[in-house]
Amino acid sequence: MSEELRTRIQEVIEHEPVALFMKGTPQFVMCGNSDRALRALREAGAPVTAVDVLPDPAIRQELSAISGWPTIPQVFVGGELIGGADIVEELAATGELEHTLEAALGADYRSSDSDRTVSVLA
């Protein structure tokens, strides 16, 4: 189970252009820091794929084991950990977030699609 879960989390990190591991979903955010990260990403026009870590504590354990980052939310762009809410907000404020998104995803990264949510549970 745990190995399968880890593989699914790794697939999301590697294959989704912008992965946001958060408490709750974009439609129903359950934590202030997850909300801050989501807002900053939306303002930068990022195509967000959200994963709710709350349905099973094992998600958070496996995620932190992979990333070496202890807290939620965690934002990955192009498979790379960008950071948590504070870093994403700070990068957004300086305009660096948009540069990071462009560098990883191409100049036309802005998506008109709404956020989507995927599950890592079987």
Binding site: N33, I82, G84, A85
Partner: protein, 77 residues
């Protein structure tokens, strides 16, 4: 938990910090804002700067004493 134990952990990790603040954001003892200015951050990415703070507070993060952590780091250059 109180802010003092967190402050002590950060003082051990950043003995040369020129600024070190721990605030209890809600008064409930589990939502904290920490602010550290240290030459150790010079030349590091924000990600690596925050990793150092997370490492210093690994124990209270792991055992759930810290429910929410906000971090502000600055180098000295």
């Amino acid at each position: 938990m109180a802010t003092d134990p967190l402050r002590t952990l950060l003082e051990h990790a950043f003995p040369d910090a020129s600024e070190l603040k721990v605030e209890d954001r809600t008064g409930g003892g589990d939502h904290f804002q920490v602010t550290v200015t240290s030459p150790r951050f010079d030349g590091l990415t924000l990600l690596d700067q925050h990793r150092l703070v997370n490492d210093a507070l690994a124990e209270p993060l792991r055992d759930g004493s810290i429910h929410e952590l906000r971090i502000t780091t600055r180098g000295t250059q």
